[in-house]
């Protein structure tokens, strides 16, 4: 049961933490109701990788190259599997649409009068959603990764694993603030599905979800010395799929790894601020009628 505090000004130490905990517990219970569907859904998401495995095997069989853009066939399969992990962190199904819907149908107004911050609530429920997803999906993921272990290079050193985990956490935050900001556009446009679609399209192509972005290194932009891969490196999208996977496979190392982590953290801050500004400005122009 949620305890609503009538006077938010009178707060005991740890009250904020308790609200967060309650929001987390509610969302956990909500999500666990559909655990069977989760397991089935998780396993099915690996099916397209089976097709990719055979496609790239066929591609390598027809070429004399030992690797493509620095990736052997096994690297590519491992890459696709690792992007599944990254997407499990960075994808936020229904977030933008949910925010825009709550603006459209007026349900957002309860967050304006309750002592609960909407963005924090969304973040807490998303963390809960993800936690349940990881708990339920851990088994199918472990099974698939065990079966496919021979595609992976040896387990990297502790520093690489730490960077990988850090990149994953940042990818979660980046994905959250990116999509929450898109949803906040609902204050201006009401229906954001076309904007979300445009974002998904660009995101799918430039995040590395379809193929390792290193493959774009040979494609020019018309500017001498600047490839498409160089341009993509500065955009936020690659941090939601490509980057963590590339860290694990040792494709990004040393100072390049540090730079990329800093850029990723920079994008998280930029999008968190953008989300907050969109919320402030959006709620100032928002008007709701009726009960």
């Amino acid at each position: 049961m949620i305890e609503t505090r009538s006077n938010p000004a009178v707060r005991w130490p740890g009250a904020g933490l308790r609200t967060w905990w309650m929001m987390l517990v509610i969302s956990l219970e909500e999500r666990l109701a559909y655990r069977g569907d989760f397991v089935l859904g998780t396993l099915m998401r690996f099916l397209p990788i089976v097709t990719q495995l055979f496609l790239w095997t066929a591609v390598f069989s027809a070429t004399s190259r030992p690797d493509i853009a620095g990736y052997s066939r096994n690297d590519i399969v491992a890459y696709y599997l690792l992007t599944m992990v990254t997407r499990a962190f960075s994808s936020m199904p229904g977030l933008s649409g949910g925010i825009a819907r709550s603006v459209r149908d007026g349900s957002v107004k309860k967050y304006l009068v309750q002592p609960v911050d909407y963005v924090s609530f969304l973040l807490a429920s998303r963390i809960a959603h993800k936690l349940v997803y990881y708990i339920v999906a851990a088994l199918p993921f472990a099974g698939v990764f065990f079966l496919c272990r021979h595609f992976f290079p040896p387990i990297p050193d502790a520093l690489t694993i730490t960077s990988f985990v850090l990149a994953l956490v940042l990818s979660f935050l980046l994905g959250f603030f990116l999509e929450a900001t898109l949803g906040m556009l609902g204050f201006w446009f009401l229906e954001v599905s076309s904007i979300v679609f445009g974002y998904m399209l660009v995101q799918y192509l430039l995040s590395g979800h379809m193929f390792p972005l290193d493959m774009l290194a040979g494609i020019g932009t018309g500017i001498p010395g600047l490839s498409l891969a160089d341009v993509v490196r500065w955009l936020p999208f690659e941090y939601t799929a490509y980057f963590p996977a590339a860290i694990w496979l040792g494709k990004v190392q040393g100072t390049q790894l540090v730079y990329s982590l800093v850029i990723e953290a920079g994008w998280v801050i930029v999008m968190a601020v953008a989300c907050r500004i969109a919320w402030w400005r959006g709620t100032r122009r928002y008007s709701a009628f009726g009960g």
Partner: protein, 272 residues
């Protein structure tokens, strides 16, 4: 039969009027499906910058492969336009009891449930598919034999029939289970196997998978057979595949009809 054609034409007209009422939405939906398709085409183009062929000695070089992709676009756009919107509605109809209204109509329930809604925007991909096929065939030196031009539309219809049967069987599963969102996802993931030439499924794991997707769930015959007929020379083995595709289409339709009738007979209304 004439009555059904008239009713289908009425459905089509009503859906077209509805689509044209919300014209911007219609254009956006066309752009949506064209966007996803363009991304896939960009991916295939990228793949062909690294290799000349998909699978050594398979004959699936760039232009024939794009004829394959075009065939897939045409077949999928027909299925997406004619059958998927209705099948997707069925889940809600079972859950809410709306199916009762369909069952008391003096019409075949399978016809009503699988063809009452048509999504005209899905034809956009099919049109691009026809353009892509024309470009690919122009780029292939060898012109298809006139028999091929007769066989190709027939095999496209066979592919549509196989996919339609699959949709109907999943719809039947909805009636049994009450709700089956995952099974529709399953349809998407299953048809994913038909997106590439069957030759890529080779080796100790690939060969059984190929056999399974050819003889048990004939998903690999859907695009592969018409695409091979139009893009590659028609040889002895090709005729076997053509007969297999026609047989699979007829058998799929029959089996799906039986499964659907069985499911309807087990239906228990959810409405009050």
């Amino acid at each position: 039969m004439n009555r059904y054609a008239t009713i289908f034409a009425t459905f089509a007209r009503a859906c077209l009027v509805r689509d044209m009422t919300f014209r911007t939405n219609f254009i956006l939906e066309c752009v949506t499906s064209l966007g996803w398709m363009s991304m896939n085409l960009a991916f295939y183009l990228l793949v062909f910058t690294f290799t000349a062929e998909i699978g050594q000695g398979t004959g699936w070089t760039r232009e024939p492969f794009f004829a394959f992709v075009a065939t897939g676009l045409i077949i999928n756009s027909i299925v997406q336009a004619l059958f998927m919107p209705s099948a997707e509605e069925l889940t809600e109809m079972v859950r809410t009891g709306g199916l009762d209204g369909v069952l008391v109509q003096p019409l075949d329930a399978q016809f009503l449930l699988s063809m009452h809604r048509i999504d005209f925007s899905a034809f956009a991909n099919g049109l691009v598919g026809i353009g892509l096929l024309a470009w690919a065939l122009k780029s292939i030196d060898r012109a298809p034999h006139f028999v091929v031009w007769l066989l190709y539309p027939l095999l496209i219809l066979c592919g549509v029939a196989i996919l339609y049967s699959l949709v109907i069987m999943l719809a039947a599963a909805t009636i049994w289970m009450g709700r089956n969102q995952s099974l529709y996802d399953f349809w998407f993931y299953l048809t994913n196997f038909s997106r590439y030439p069957a030759e890529i499924y080779a080796g100790p794991w690939g060969s059984p998978l190929r056999a399974l997707c050819t003889f048990v769930i004939p998903i690999l015959l859907v695009v592969n057979v018409p695409a091979r007929v139009i893009a590659q020379p028609l040889e002895g083995q090709g005729w076997g595949m053509i007969f297999a595709a026609v047989f699979a289409a007829v058998a799929s339709l029959l089996i799906s009809r039986i499964v659907f009738q069985l499911a309807i007979s087990r239906y228990r209304s959810a409405s009050s």
